[in-house]
């Protein structure tokens, strides 16, 4: 069936079997391999993307179910060479080690700050609880999201 999804502002259309998972559609069709395909069981969160602005595990949605909707992936965070404050925060606070969980952690964190610009550490922990980091880096991930929250408030005010 023909599935058309707007991914990071670009329209992507492809004829795929109806059972195709969104994560594979994203990785295979436009070749956006930043979205990781991890546990396959909706547990690890490496495949988290935003669908219409909401964080969703893309291994547990069919591409067909997202036909006509908007998806944002990790590649969509940076705009014109300027990193998203979440990306800056992960860099500044050393919030990644092997990097496998990072795209999902960043997309879940981005969704948190979009809804709640000044979260507590506990709220950050809850927001990223759908992701698993096996380098045991949660402490720095929380610090990174905190950093992003603190640094993007003034940026938003300037805009």
């Amino acid at each position: 069936m023909q599935v058309t999804i707007t991914i990071n502002g670009q329209t992507v259309s492809r004829d795929v079997p109806p059972q195709t998972l969104l994560v594979h559609f994203i990785r295979d069709t436009p070749g956006l391999t930043g979205t990781h395909w991890g546990c396959d069981t909706s547990n690890c969160g490496a495949c988290i993307v935003q669908i219409d602005g909401k964080a969703v595990k893309s291994c547990t949605q069919l591409a067909a179910m997202v036909d006509g909707h908007e998806v944002k992936t990790i590649e969509g965070l940076e705009v014109d060479g300027v990193l998203d404050p979440i990306q800056e925060g992960f860099h500044e606070q050393h919030a990644l080690h092997c990097g496998f969980c990072t795209p999902g952690m960043m997309m879940a964190s981005r969704s948190l700050l979009d809804e709640n610009p000044d979260p507590t550490d506990e709220e950050i922990r809850v927001a990223i609880s759908g992701g698993i980091c096996r380098c045991t880096g949660y402490k720095n991930i929380v610090a990174a999201v905190r950093w992003a929250a603190e640094h993007e408030a003034p940026i938003k005010q300037e805009v």
């Binding site: 109806p18 396959d40 909706s42 547990n43 547990t60 927001a127």
Partner: protein
């Protein structure tokens, strides 16, 4: 790599259309909403539908509202909606208790109450919540609607009263005075299914328990309605001693199996403790 087996797919544009397609295509056609139970089952070949009907466009089923003396929840209301609903927080705080510990926030963005109830996983929390609250579900078929109380909804492990060419469209919960409710769950790690969980609802009038609902998750082949413990509570004044007795009865009436989440004795013990805590919190809320 886990991927679903080949299947057909269509998007529904009306509830009547869903029922017509189900009737026409037979039981190998399944409804998909959030997909967070069905798609993992399809990956594991525990479910092998030949055709899927996607109901995510049926926005008329995405509501939580009061009608008369009932709260009505559309089948497509998502976990995140239940967690944040002020109407539910006011009347049935047990929903927010449970939703805070159902999976994780990302899964809660997609999973729906209709899907959770129809999946009827014995470890699933919302079935216990709805059972404790003595909710009813509306099931629609070609011949119209029928309203089924929760105690008739589960007909076996992963089996519900929803027939082949039928669809659960709504959950109804009566608003009665003097209500309090709470959900207590112990999980191994964030977002996991429960080791054991208890949902409790209590209705108090003039210092006496007029009615009670207790349901247990993850400690049997289906959601267990603890009717013996409910019977014990009715007509009595709430007290810690009474709740300990109710917990002991629930512990006896649970049917846990030993698995990676723990041995039978441990789970029975948990049921007693969690039931007592749930009743205590439900009562405190009823008396607020």
């Amino acid at each position: 790599m886990q991927t679903p087996a080949p299947c057909g797919y269509e998007r529904a544009s009306s509830v009547d259309g869903v029922i017509a397609t189900l009737a026409e295509r037979g039981p190998s056609t399944r409804i998909v909403a959030g997909g967070h139970s069905l798609i993992p089952m399809m990956k594991l070949r525990l479910a092998t539908p030949e055709h899927l009907i996607d109901i995510n466009d049926l926005h008329e089923l995405s509501y939580i509202r009061q009608e008369g003396e009932e709260v009505r929840i559309g089948a497509l209301a998502r976990h995140v909606d239940l967690l944040r609903s002020e109407l539910l927080a006011e009347h049935f705080p047990v929903f927010a208790d449970a939703e805070e510990v159902i999976a994780d926030p990302v899964v809660r963005n997609r999973g729906t109450i209709g899907g959770s109830l129809c999946q009827a996983d014995p470890g699933e929390d919302l079935s216990a919540v709805c059972s404790a609250l003595k909710a009813s579900v509306v099931i629609r078929g070609a011949g119209g609607e029928r309203v089924v109380p929760m105690h008739e909804f589960h007909v076996g492990p992963y089996m519900t009263a929803v027939g082949d060419a039928e669809m659960l469209t709504e959950v109804r919960i009566a608003i009665r005075p003097g209500a309090g409710s709470a959900h207590e769950k112990l999980e191994r790690r964030a977002g996991d299914f429960a080791i054991a969980a208890t949902s409790a609802a209590i209705w108090i009038n003039g210092g006496t328990i007029t009615d009670a609902g207790i349901a247990l998750a993850a400690v049997g082949p289906f959601t267990i309605e603890a009717t013996r413990a409910e019977e014990l509570l009715r007509g009595k004044a709430p007290s810690d001693e009474l709740f300990t007795q109710a917990g002991a009865i629930c512990s006896e009436d649970s049917m846990p199996a030993a698995d990676g989440r723990g041995p039978v004795d441990y789970k029975r013990h948990l049921v007693g403790v969690l039931t007592k805590r749930a009743l205590r919190r439900a009562t405190a809320r009823a008396l607020q």
